[in-house]
Subunit: 339 residues, 4 copies
């Protein structure tokens, strides 16, 4: 099987996660190039991971004929144009979510993907490649929990990361687009349905900075889906114990919970404080295996010339729903969602 040579654009925390995985944990893949606006960062990573090519200019990297694919891990607003450029240069593209920070941008990405139907495009909804979520999906699909009544899904960041959250808040798209989007994808994935109506609310419970860009530091949204399922999402920055992503799927014949005790450590500590377990310290640790697995799937799709389960349209749909949440939050109205 031909090795897939991949260039990574964006060398922040998540970019490095992908670069490192491609470099040493994804069979059949080779980290052939890295690109970042900071030249020094590029050099450093080239040395650290033994990467042959380095760029500060994305267009230039796309011209490299040795590259089969590009992994887009840049700031969200740049995703659509970079996706389009890479595809136009004949590259397969893996892009981190969100597809774009506006619905118009998402449509632009859709067009680019449609224009190059022989290229593989995949969006980074990594939860779909997490072992526990995959197990849950199988159980649901096998009908073991009956009809889905409600899905509750939390995306909680550790309070320790609040500075970064405030710093990147204005450009992140906000709680619903940046955080709930994974919950929204989860809802659509498990129900196979779309929201009918929703109401979102929230507040600045501690960090008034979020109000500056019309956002909340903690927010939630209750949705009713067309198939009747109730979906509840909560996004927050105040988790004291670490990064916590929890999903509960209630059916008429069974209930599934993922991440109720969110940890990959088997260690319990008995002390005068009681019986204690440690939660995931950060999102990288929580999703490390899922990030590897989704990249493996991307590489397999290229090698086997087949489309990934997640399409560009899933990206647009999730963004549209997130925008509807945002509008509901801003206007404090119960909104009908037009799929």
């Amino acid at each position: 099987m031909k090795t897939v040579k991949i260039g990574v654009i964006g060398l922040g925390r998540l970019g490095m996660e992908h670069a490192t995985n491609i470099s040493s944990r994804v069979p059949g893949a080779e980290l052939a190039a890295v690109c970042d606006v900071h030249a020094q960062r590029v050099e450093q990573v080239m040395e650290e991971l033994a990467v042959p090519y380095g760029y500060t200019d994305f267009a230039e990297m796309c011209e490299n004929p040795k590259l089969d694919a590009i992994a887009v891990v840049s700031p969200s607003a740049l995703h659509p144009q970079q996706i389009a450029l890479a595809l136009s240069k004949g590259k397969h593209v893996f892009s981190e979510k969100p597809l774009g920070t506006t619905v118009a941008q998402c449509k632009q990405a859709e067009k680019a993907v449609e224009a190059y139907p022989d290229r593989i495009f995949m969006l980074g909804f990594m939860r779909r490649y997490d072992t526990s979520y995959m197990q849950a999906k199988k159980i649901v699909d096998a009908g073991r929990i009956g009809r889905i009544i409600m899905i509750r899904s939390y995306t909680q960041e550790c309070i320790k990361t609040i500075e970064g959250a405030i710093q990147f808040g204005p450009t992140s798209g906000g709680e619903f687009l940046d955080m709930c989007i994974h919950d929204i994808d989860t809802f659509r994935w498990f129900t196979g349905s779309e929201p009918k109506e929703l109401w979102a609310t929230g507040d600045c419970y501690e960090f008034q900075e979020f109000a500056e860009w019309n956002d909340a530091d903690n927010a939630s949204c209750l949705m009713k889906f067309r198939n009747g399922t109730m979906c509840f999402t909560f996004a927050g920055h105040a988790a004291p114990h670490g990064t916590n992503v929890e999903t509960e799927i209630m059916g008429t014949r069974g209930i599934l919970r993922i991440g109720s005790v969110g940890t990959d450590s088997l260690l319990e500590i008995m002390s005068q404080d009681g019986i204690t377990r440690q939660c995931y310290p950060d999102f990288q640790r929580r999703w490390h295996e899922a990030y590897i697995e989704e990249m493996c799937e991307f590489v397999r799709c290229i090698q086997q010339n087949r489309k990934p389960e997640v399409s560009v349209y899933d990206g647009t749909a999730c963004s549209k729903i997130a925008y509807c949440c945002k509008e509901s939050f801003e206007t404090d109205r119960l909104l009908q969602y037009q799929g």
Copy 2:
């Protein structure tokens, strides 16, 4: 300390729970009389619990000068008139929730309570007397979890009890009045605030019978409280594993969960199915100690001539909110709540 002689009206499952507790588990109390429309049931309980007086007529029981207090555990719609009658005959009154099945009824109960200010009146919000909820309240009041961001509270009945739920559904007041009312009390208790607005939704996911009385077999409601707290309640009849009541209180500096693994058994079973714990089989087992503790508190209030924490106005407020949920569910509108 003088023994408090109590008569119980209503000898259904919950009535028997209270009767048995008064009979043998509440220090300072004596089960002096029982009353039920079924004469045979009365006789049977009189013998079983060695009760000196038995009645099929409530008014008659209230005339018994030996009785200090009445515990009202009859069908919800009868609560207000029975409360009023018992008070007018000089009895202290403990009443199961809800205070009444309409807000008008609740107001009627309020008037009766106001008319006899020297009588003790207590409403059966037993969660407030559950060890775990009491621990949580202390932690919250001590400021250990900071400002409350969100409270999520579930009231789930086991699927095995669905027949009873359907049978009593038409007269129960519905999901919000009959089940969520405890969650609503929890929200008010922990926040000290009232809802500002709310949206309720739900469906008949399996049992279409509930539609006959404009109800859902599973329903939820998202509320925004005046102090900013988001409150989410879910009530359902499809829990496969038993009776599950779970409350989560998220603060800016800590999170509390009560009943995430709802069981009073310390037993874990390792088998080919995995590692299994048993949930509470029914509500009596879940709340047994809390039912005892609330009755102890009722008796202590009488003996010490002081008012319980829960007032008749709390009963009215919870019912009003539950009715607002019901209206929101029926009209599918986001409603402003007028306290």
Copy 3:
């Protein structure tokens, strides 16, 4: 059914537990008398629990014709003579473990019980009346875990109670007689067999005081039972998180664990320390319901004139085994146990 009037001898922590339970939580029982060497304590309890008779002399209490039964909760060394005296005065007897602090004493108690075959005698192996242990026993007896391979049982006291442990250490009989005896009873109860051989070891890991009476502050013993079952017991005083009693029963087709997370609280706390649950703070809280249930059983046995499951011979057997452990520990030899 006739009310059983009980007198309690010994008003320490455990004595008060039993006195309070008899007074208000055991149907069909009445706390009719209390006895203790401290006159002031007797008066105080008489007032607190409204007890009609009080004594500082045990023999005097036994003369009271109104008493049907005596609950012996005095220092261990006094058990046999008090059991004998109470029986000789026509009383039914409930005695706390151990039956005596020497095997000779146990034999003395056996004789007394044999001399009054129409009197009910019951020994306080309260674990047998704990819900979780009873559930486990049913599962084992139903053959659901196959043949028992190993039982592991811990008795751990909280480090906070170390002062009392040291104070009463010299007269307690030591780790094996005072603490492991419950584990030993558990082994015999579940296997229906007796030890064939055993080796006990331990040390003064922190508190050298225990060496003064040839004891260890933490000790363990591995036994092989005649039916092949391996049994491992550990007793210690260093539990940081509370009182922990844990029993694991491994079978050829399933494994049961009781008390792996030992708590009656449903509360989980998420904080910067992680996810924390509180253990039982002390033994009274751990066994409160079991203490009630065993006293209920004692009363039922009297009322129904039948023998309890636990006989006086069980008491002797457990003490003999505990003494064998002690000898093994002191001589550091693998000992054959002569049943």
Copy 4:
């Protein structure tokens, strides 16, 4: 950093685990050769993992000048001679445990390692590279649990794998050498001490086949270490729920548990059976990350020319202790261990 080219001898389940990890998950490593007695297996793996060299003769593989290192994953009895041969051909050697199936064999391996002091030799005690064990070690070394009182460590294989256990039983070295050896390593690692005395026992609780080679299907051993620590190990084949390895470390100021709920899945299933979590299905899944991490450490040691933490002497010591357990089990005597 120079890539380390590794040849793997033995392509059974564990051999394939290592081969796959070296091939795609260990940075800086290359799977350059595989060797197995089954020619067809060699060809198959060469194709599957794109391995350039394949052998059915171990000596031949050792002659390949392109190989820097050999990973020995062959049957236990072959380890010493293969270690010696590989070292003599200038290769670095990673060997699975045990070092040998007799103490004499272990000594032979020691000599070989001593003869080539510039070569890296590492033994596969993978628990030391498991995240949870590493966390525990740090906590213990930081003194957070005080002095260690007792370590309990279980190695339980799933009943589903019993056929293989019986098949390989006669040549495996038995329960103590094949299974408890990891627990023994754990004891030595955490205490830094050696056993003073021990008593082992066990039986054929279900599978009489084990008696044919003087072994038990379930066995345990209680040890007293020279520093006073009590160590208890249990090895069994009857775990119904999967592969379970659990270690508890009790200190005078805290208790650690690893693997009490042994699973890498975050999924809980609520059903009519209760609340269920799945255990690890097999040892590969349990130790997958640890196998990767230990191989990474082997490669780093080669690249940085430093010795791994685990020496060849640790291998001999663990085997000696395991043999002492075996002797104690066979003779049913309490044995003094001569380090």
